[in-house]
C-alpha cells in the first residue's frame, strides 16, 4: 500500500452518451415541421385585362394553329384529332415556318381535366425550348440555359412564345389575346 498510484490528476472525459438523444430530438423536430414540397413548375405569364380593346385581328389561317381540348381530354388541332406525341413536331415545324408572325390558340373545355391542359402546355413549351436551344447553339455556341440574360432576351425576341387562350366563362365568350414572353 505504500506505492499507490495517484489517480487524482486525470480529468474525467465528457459524458457523451446523451448526444444520440439530442440528435433524435432534432430529427423529430425536422420531420414534423417541414415538408418536401415540389419546387418546380411551368412558368406562364398571364396577359393583363384590357377592357378597352379586344384583340380580334383576323389572322391568316396559315399563321395560326388552333388547339382545342374536348370534354374527354382529347386534343383537336384545326378541327382534326391529334395524339399528344404528334403535337411537338407539328408545333416545331409551324413555328419554324412562320418566324414571328405565328399565333397558337388554345381553348379548353370547362369540363376537361387540368392534367390534359398541362400536358398540352408542356408539349408546346418543349417545342419552343428545342427551337430556342437550336438557335442559341447556332448563334452563341451554347445551350439556352447557359446564355447570359441579354443573349436569352435576344433569342426570346427572335422566337417569341405567342400563345393565346380563348375560353368561355359561364355566360359569354371572350378572348384573351396574349403574348406571354418568357
Amino acid at each position: 500500500m505504500l506505492f499507490r498510484k495517484h489517480n487524482r490528476k486525470t480529468v474525467p472525459g465528457l459524458n457523451t452518451s446523451s448526444t444520440a438523444d439530442i440528435s433524435f430530438m432534432l430529427l423529430i423536430l425536422f420531420l414534423v415541421t417541414t415538408s418536401m414540397d415540389v419546387d418546380k413548375g411551368l412558368s406562364h405569364q398571364l396577359p393583363p385585362i384590357d377592357k378597352t380593346k379586344k384583340e380580334q385581328q383576323m389572322v391568316d389561317s396559315r399563321h395560326i394553329m388552333i388547339f382545342r381540348i374536348t370534354e374527354n381530354n382529347k386534343f383537336v388541332l384545326d378541327e382534326k384529332p391529334i395524339p399528344l406525341s404528334q403535337i411537338k413536331p407539328r408545333v416545331k415545324e409551324f413555328v419554324q415556318r412562320n418566324e414571328k408572325k405565328h399565333i397558337i390558340q388554345l381553348e379548353a373545355n370547362r369540363k376537361s381535366a387540368y392534367n390534359s391542359y398541362f400536358q398540352l402546355q408542356n408539349e408546346i413549351i418543349s417545342a419552343y425550348n428545342i427551337l430556342r436551344n437550336q438557335r442559341a447553339a447556332r448563334t452563341f455556341g451554347k445551350t439556352y440555359e447557359l446564355c447570359s440574360p441579354e443573349q436569352q432576351a435576344q433569342i426570346n425576341n427572335e422566337i417569341p412564345i405567342r400563345i393565346s387562350e380563348v375560353y368561355e366563362p359561364s355566360t359569354n365568350e371572350t378572348s384573351k389575346g396574349g403574348n406571354p414572353k418568357q
Binding site: 457523451t16 411551368l42 392534367n115 402546355q121 366563362p169
Partner: protein, 155 residues
C-alpha cells in the same frame, strides 16, 4: 499467473459509439432536402408530371394556391367538391380576389413586380375552375403564374 484464471464468457454488448453520427447524417439530409412548411395543407392534390419545368426562385414573394378535395381532421377526403386554398385558409372564388389584392398592397413595389403565384392543382380538376381562377388573377393584376409539377425523365 495461476492456472485457474476466471474465464469471463460474457458476450460483449453492441458498441453504440457511432449511433449519434448516423443520426446526424440523417438529420443533415432532412435539413437540406426539406423546407419549413408555412401552412398546413387542407386539400388533397397530386400535381401533374412535366418536362419543361423551371425552379421557383424568390420564395418570399410566392403565394401558394392549392386546389383539390378537402381533407377532414383525420386526413380523409371529406367531400367530393373541389376547394381552393390560398396560403393557409380555404377560400371561395369571390374571396380570392380580395385576399390577393390585400397581399399585393402589403408588398413593396419591387416585390409587386416579382410577385408569383404557384398553382398546385390536382390533376383531375375541371378546367372550368382553373379558367375562373386565371381570370380572377388577371383582374387582381397578378400576372406571374407557375403551374407546379414534378419532373418526369425526358424520353
Amino acid at each position: 499467473m495461476s492456472l485457474y484464471r476466471r474465464h469471463n464468457h460474457a458476450i460483449p454488448a453492441l458498441n453504440t459509439a457511432s449511433l449519434p453520427d448516423l443520426i446526424f447524417t440523417i438529420l443533415f439530409f432532412f435539413m437540406l432536402v426539406t423546407h419549413m412548411r408555412k401552412a398546413s395543407i387542407k386539400v388533397k392534390y397530386q400535381v401533374p408530371v412535366g418536362t419543361e419545368l423551371t425552379n421557383l426562385t424568390k420564395k418570399s414573394t410566392v403565394s401558394y394556391i392549392y386546389i383539390g378535395k378537402p381533407l377532414g381532421e383525420t386526413g380523409q377526403v371529406v367531400s367530393s367538391e373541389t376547394k381552393i386554398q390560398l396560403n393557409d385558409k380555404l377560400v371561395s372564388l369571390n374571396d380570392i380576389k380580395q385576399s390577393l389584392v390585400r397581399e399585393r398592397n402589403s408588398m413593396s413595389p419591387e416585390e409587386r413586380k416579382a410577385m408569383l403565384v404557384s398553382i398546385r392543382a390536382d390533376q383531375n380538376t375541371n378546367m372550368g375552375l382553373i379558367i375562373d381562377l386565371k381570370q380572377i388573377l388577371r383582374e387582381a393584376n397578378v400576372l406571374n403564374v407557375n403551374y407546379a409539377a414534378v419532373t418526369k425523365p425526358k424520353r
